[in-house]
């Protein structure tokens, strides 16, 4: 067993643990904190089914962002949709036998890698070119974009520039999942790709990537317009009624 294999195996266990534990803690925190008042933003659906539909449109189509700014929507949606496809394509490294849908998505998944880069490039360009967005950008905003761009680039490099033994990579991943470690090929682009992906996983619960779980807990989007029919008394607010 090479040192690289051991280091990367440990890295992935640690990153997965940080992602799962960190995210679970954050989500539990959101779920535990009460929403003491009815505050949905118009146009608010009047039923729970309506809320589910609104949330679905928000998550799948970025409805509000579309209303706000067409360029940001275009680049943002392109990036996210492509990322979803790319992640889906990567399931082939974690499943045996590979699911039919995953196999079907393989060719499109490669192009999605380029689409993802295009989206990221557009989003990053805005941080330099649009004065307002330049003003609000922090170092971590740039860092996050750099991280994603490098992950995409190193991934595409393995496909088009210097091939990696993907069969061995898959064996390594399955080995991690089955606690039966297999050697990892020590190729440059692969090691960069995996290291950055692990870094992204670890950073997730401590960064703005929390927008992903956050949107589901956003009271302005997940509440129904039912205030005259339903009291929403938080436990701490109920205490006031006892006084």
């Amino acid at each position: 067993m090479s040192a690289v294999t051991i280091i990367y195996a440990c890295l992935f266990y640690a990153a997965t643990a940080m992602l799962v534990v960190g995210l679970a803690a954050k989500i539990a925190g959101y779920a535990r904190t009460p929403a003491p008042l009815t505050v949905p933003t118009t146009p608010a659906p009047r039923t729970r089914a309506g809320v589910a539909l609104r949330m679905a449109r928000e998550v799948a189509l970025f409805e509000s962002l579309f209303r706000a700014n067409k360029w940001t929507w275009l680049f943002g949606w392109l990036f996210h949709a492509a990322l979803a496809l790319v992640l889906f394509r990567h399931l082939r490294y974690f499943t045996e036998p590979v699911w039919a849908a995953v196999a079907l998505a393989q060719p499109a998944g490669v192009y999605a890698g380029f689409a993802m880069l295009a989206g990221l490039a557009g989003l990053w360009a805005r941080r330099f070119l649009v004065e307002r967005i330049r003003y609000i950008s922090t170092w971590s905003d740039h860092l996050m974009l750099a991280l994603l761009v490098l992950i995409a680039l190193s991934g595409l490099m393995m496909k088009y520039v210097s091939h990696t033994d993907v069969v061995a990579v898959k064996a390594f991943m399955l080995g991690l999942m089955r606690f039966d470690w297999q050697p990892l090929p020590a190729d440059g682009p692969l090691l960069v790709h995996l290291f950055l992906a692990a870094a992204l996983m670890a950073l997730f619960p401590a960064s703005k990537l929390l927008h992903a779980p956050g949107v589901f807990f956003s009271p302005t989007r997940n509440q129904a317009d039912d205030s005259r029919e339903r009291r929403r008394l938080a436990p701490w607010a109920a205490e006031l009624e006892k006084k």
């Binding site: 009047r46 962002l65 302005t220 989007r221």
Partner: protein
């Protein structure tokens, strides 16, 4: 009054996103509340010893009480969707009036004390200590947000700057940095029953005078009763309706509607105010305490319905919060929504033919409608989707022959705040108020030029007061602004309906 000189911005043909003008509004600062005002409503009189630790503890407390705050402080990705949506940014160009930048004033402190990244890598993620300079920035810029929630419509995560502004104001109040205009008024509402400090006997006198005026004008015995036990309806309306113009014309309009429909109604001197400034300072407890007066008055007078007059933020509190704050309303008539908006009531009467309007009475008017932010984005009407947009317009069109909406990107949920909401309706903030009204004034100018609009109806006391003040800065006549029930009052048939 103490406000510095400034230039009224020119009205442009097409809206233009301004170039950033750093610190353009750094001098905008409302008067601080006196020790007496703060203490009267349970806050420390002035900046307390060890304020920094107490402010951070308060932030921690609020993070545990409000999911909105907790999620919103984590979820922002700095995408910039909101950056050109705030009327105060559009009117001033000050980058700290971009919603995301305003939020960052709190978020950078949150990161520093409550997140791993901010504790260990503050420079990287833009985290900052809560210093006196930061507190000063909070005071200036959270008093440049009218809590109108326009940014929240466009945010992909629904982040609502109003929630963050309210949290910042609550934290500031908790360490003794209160704003004079809001805190003084909250004291008054507890002491005297209304925001304007009008005592009970003066209210009764005013209403009597109004009855006489209506009698003179119309010959009808339209009543404006106060504290009448056994009335069917308790009307809760902003106290400006009692004597400010154009507000009072709407009050006359409500009275005529009740008269024509034959509904017994009453006002209450105990709850002679719909406004609830507890909302503006983000204090749940104050909001509840102020709203409780209304429940008490309704029970004491034995009414069967509560109807709320033309007041934007009051309707948000009533529609969205009352049931939670002071409900349940099981003592009211279940056949009517509780609470009910005066527009819901009037619209229903018109549709049932219980009142009749002569549109010709308003033929001299070419009308447009300004959606008030709190009604448009924070409440509903009629139990139907978008009812708060449909119902007031339906009433206007039943009362007038000439109606034209302003540009679609400036109405309905995309409406601009009048520029005076959220506790900013005070003279020392005149520059902010005038500049914040710019986007609305541009949209108004377009319909004035195109359709000859000469009347902008609205259903909010703050909008009416704000526009009365800022319209002249843009060379409009201040009498262009008025209430929906002003139009109703002028068109309604008071005699027999047949």
């Amino acid at each position: 009054m103490g406000a510095p000189e400034f230039q009224t911005p020119p009205l442009k043909e097409y809206p233009v996103i301004p170039i950033l003008a750093k610190d353009a509004m750094a001098g905008s600062r409302p008067y601080v509340a006196s020790e007496k005002m703060n203490e009267a409503i349970g806050f420390p009189g002035k900046l307390v010893e060890g304020w920094q630790a107490r402010a951070i503890a308060k932030m921690g407390e609020l993070l545990g009480k409000y999911r909105s705050l907790k999620v919103f402080l984590d979820a922002c990705v700095h995408c910039g969707a909101c950056t050109d949506k705030c009327q105060y940014f559009l009117g001033t160009g000050d980058p700290k009036n971009m919603p995301v930048a305003r939020q960052e004033l709190v978020r950078k402190v949150y990161r520093r004390y409550f997140t791993f990244a901010g504790k260990y890598f503050p420079r990287l993620v833009g985290a900052e200590d809560l210093t006196e300079a930061v507190l000063e920035d909070w005071y200036r810029y959270f008093n440049q947000c009218s809590e109108c929630r326009r940014c929240s419509v466009y945010c992909p995560y629904g982040i609502d700057t109003a929630e963050i502004t309210m949290a910042a104001k609550e934290i500031m109040d908790s360490v003794g940095v209160g704003q004079k205009y809001t805190n003084e008024i909250i004291g008054k509402v507890h002491r005297l029953g209304n925001n304007l400090g009008l005592p009970g006997p003066a209210l009764a006198d005013t209403l009597e005078t109004l009855e006489e005026e209506i009698k003179e004008d119309t010959g009808a015995d339209v009543r404006l009763p106060v504290n009448e036990a056994g009335a069917e309806v308790l009307v809760i309306t902003p106290s400006a309706d009692f004597f400010a113009e154009p507000h009072v014309f709407s009050l006359i309009g409500y009275a005529k509607v009740f008269h024509a429909a034959g509904i017994r109604w009453t006002l209450s001197s105990h709850a002679s105010e719909a406004g609830n400034f507890g909302l503006f300072i983000g204090s749940y407890e104050q909001m509840r305490k102020i709203a409780l007066r209304i429940r008490e008055a309704a029970l004491e007078l034995g009414v069967r319905r509560i109807v709320v007059g033309e007041c934007g933020h009051a309707w948000r509190v009533a529609y969205s919060f009352w049931n939670t704050l002071i409900g349940p309303f099981d003592f009211l008539d279940p056949r009517y929504p509780a609470p009910q908006h005066i527009c819901e009531l009037t619209d229903d009467l018109i549709r049932r033919g219980a009142i009749r309007l002569d549109k010709e009475a308003n033929d001299a008017r070419v009308v447009t409608f300004h959606d008030s932010c709190n009604v448009a984005r924070g409440a509903g009407m009629g139990g139907i989707a978008r009812g708060q947009f449909i119902i007031p317009r339906r009433i206007i069109q039943a009362a007038c022959n000439h109606f034209h909406d302003m540009a679609p990107e400036t109405i309905h949920e995309a409406t601009f705040c009048c520029g005076g909401g959220g506790g900013l309706l005070t003279d020392e903030l005149t520059e902010l108020r005038v500049k914040g009204a710019l986007p609305r004034m541009e949209a108004l100018k377009a319909v004035v030029d195109e359709h000859g609009v000469n009347f902008m109806a609205t259903i909010c006391a703050i909008c009416k007061a704000q526009f009365s003040k800022v319209l002249p800065y843009y060379r409009f006549d201040m009498s262009m602004i008025g209430g929906v029930h002003q139009l109703v009052g002028d068109a309604i048939r008071l005699g027999r309906n047949d």
